[in-house]
């Protein structure tokens, strides 16, 4: 109960703060110039399937799927205590399955169906009505719509799964299942539409190449709010159960991220090439930055630091991948290695929220960082669709802040409400004794290892 109080009060404060930001930036809405969403990066020729673009996008879709299972499942599962490892992996696994189903039922149409007042997609493609092997979406004019649908599906799935990192080792599995269904429906679908489905943020000219706000800020805020609602775990110390899994997961995330970022060009072209090398550069630089900072700070460089830095860099470059040049990617990488490190090492203990695996610290902070820096470093020579502060367009920075603020407020408020609902329906936390025995046994009747 007490936790509850603290949680909500903390949250209210957070919400207030952000509503203010929102208000401040209102004017920007008026002055903001038009700009095309990332999708526009694909050639504006008549819709015709190109086998090369299709080949790449099929693979890109598979790559992003891999990021969830087993990528994220390993990254998170290896960091969890051994007695909670399977439950942690199950959260990502079940979420990917739930979203996969709901996406074809109604998710796709509500986020990518024809725009309704800039807020949501219409229901014209409920159950993929009217989509066939020969359909092509106007948002991806050279590949089969089925692939575009599947590609977007994988983004929705991993966004929800990312939040679980802040909830593990204490959340009821049934509550998580409910959360996946509701949060994906009420939070992910609209936000994705706003930015990528010709919604109001797209019209506003917000730049988000591969999901800095839609995916990472969105999930990171949900992580923070959820962690506050759940309250602290009984047993403090972190005890990563199996760091070899963490490195494996980090490697698969990095690998899959090429599909995530370079795939967001929606074609096999030079823009995809730029996104690819920016992604790799930012990840590498951030990993090194985190490692050196930690070396200085704690006296030794850690493997987890390398992996965490790499993920931080991948997160931060996500919105920028198809807009910035390599120098931009390097700077974003440095920032993404240092700032999340301090967010995790200092901010978390200071505020005392129990973000188990730093989903907020890395994805929330890293996502905001990337979204805002995109407004600074977007280089029209890389992508005419985006011009940042450094290239004479200060308005873009403002627009980016607006997009972030809107996402933060909406995701924060909605997550709070959703947790309240779930708490009322099935409860959100396992009881103390189950927590102590471990969620693998209590929630699933399984044991990760019998060595």
């Amino acid at each position: 109960m007490k936790t509850m109080m603290k949680a909500s009060s903390k949250f209210i404060f957070l919400a207030m703060l952000l509503l203010i930001i929102g208000a401040l930036v209102a004017p920007a809405l008026v002055t903001a110039q038009e700009a095309a969403p990332a999708a526009a990066a694909a050639p504006a020729a008549p819709n015709k399937i190109d086998t090369g673009d299709t080949a790449w996008m099929i693979v890109a879709t598979a790559l992003v799927m891999l990021m969830s299972i087993p990528g994220l499942a390993l990254f998170y599962g290896g960091l969890a205590k051994t007695k909670d490892a399977l439950n942690t992996m199950a959260m990502t696994f079940v979420t990917f399955c739930i979203v996969s189903l709901l996406w074809v039922l109604y998710g796709y149409t509500f986020s990518f169906g024809d725009d309704v007042r800039g807020l949501i997609g219409n229901a014209s493609k409920l159950f993929l009505k009217g989509v066939g092997p020969n359909s092509i979406s106007d948002l991806a004019k050279t590949i089969p719509e089925y692939i575009f649908i599947a590609y977007q599906l994988t983004f929705a799935a991993i966004t929800v799964a990312l939040a679980s990192g802040a909830y593990i080792e204490r959340m009821k599995f049934s509550a998580w299942v409910l959360f996946s269904v509701i949060w994906m429906t009420l939070v992910y679908l609209p936000v994705a539409h706003w930015v990528w489905g010709n919604g109001f943020l797209a019209k506003l000219g917000a730049l988000d190449f591969a999901g800095g706000t839609v995916v990472h800020v969105n999930a990171g805020i949900a992580a923070l709010v959820g962690a506050l609602m759940l309250g602290k775990r009984k047993s403090k110390p972190i005890m990563p159960g199996n760091l070899t899994l963490v490195i494996t997961g980090a490697g698969l995330l990095w690998f899959g991220w090429f599909g995530f970022n370079a795939g967001s060009a929606l074609a096999a072209n030079g823009l995809a090439g730029a996104a690819f090398i920016n992604t790799n550069t930012a990840a590498a630089v951030a990993a090194l930055a985190w490692m050196f900072i930690e070396w200085k700070h704690s006296g030794r460089p850690t493997v987890l630091g390398l992996a965490s830095g790499a993920v931080g860099g991948l997160v931060a470059i996500t919105p920028a991948a198809g807009f910035v040049n390599v120098s931009g990617a390097i700077i974003i990488g440095i920032a993404a290695g240092i700032i999340p490190f301090y967010a995790v090492a200092k901010l978390k203990p200071m505020f005392g929220y129990d973000d188990t695996l730093d989903a907020f610290g890395i994805h929330g902070i890293g996502g905001m960082l990337g979204a805002i820096l995109t407004g600074v470093f977007a280089d029209p020579a890389i992508n005419p669709a985006g011009t940042g502060l450094l290239y004479g367009n200060p308005g873009q920075l403002w627009t980016q802040i607006v997009a972030v603020a809107v996402t933060v407020v909406y995701s924060g408020v909605m997550t709070f409400i959703i947790f309240m609902i779930i708490k009322a329906v099935v409860g959100i936390r396992v009881d103390a004794e189950e927590e102590m025995r471990g969620l693998d046994e209590s929630q699933h009747g399984e044991k990760a290892y019998n060595l």
């Binding site: 972190i238 704690s298 630091g305 965490s308 995790v344 203990p349």
Partner: protein
């Protein structure tokens, strides 16, 4: 007979085994244990946080030896495992009333 329980540094095990090879101790039982004592554990890092692992990995040897062999074994153990550094470990001598070799049913010293 006595049960000689030795709690030693893991990396001393091989030397000790060799040393014992020279005696009439034919067998022993070894267990991995966690030790708490004067020697403190080390600190581990986790994303900028440091936490101390308060135990030290140790190895516990259990040797049951005939009374007349006890002193010799004790000397050997001390010789083979002493480094003079905190954490070398301890030896405890506990009385054993009976020993049985399951295979043959032999009892007493001959069972060892």
């Amino acid at each position: 007979m006595k049960l000689i329980k030795c709690i030693i540094q893991p990396y001393r095990l091989d030397e000790l085994k060799e040393a014992l090879g020279t005696t009439k101790v034919h067998g022993m039982t070894v267990t991995d244990v966690k030790g708490f004592g004067r020697q403190k554990g080390h600190t581990e890092l986790y994303r900028g946080a440091e936490y101390t692992v308060d135990f030290v990995p140790k190895v516990e040897l259990e040797l049951v030896v005939p009374d007349d062999a006890v002193q010799q074994v004790l000397d050997l153990v001390v010789k083979a495992t002493r480094s003079g550094k905190v954490g070398d470990g301890k030896i405890f001598v506990i009385p054993v009333e009976e020993a049985i070799r399951i295979r043959t049913g032999e009892t007493g010293d001959t069972a060892l």
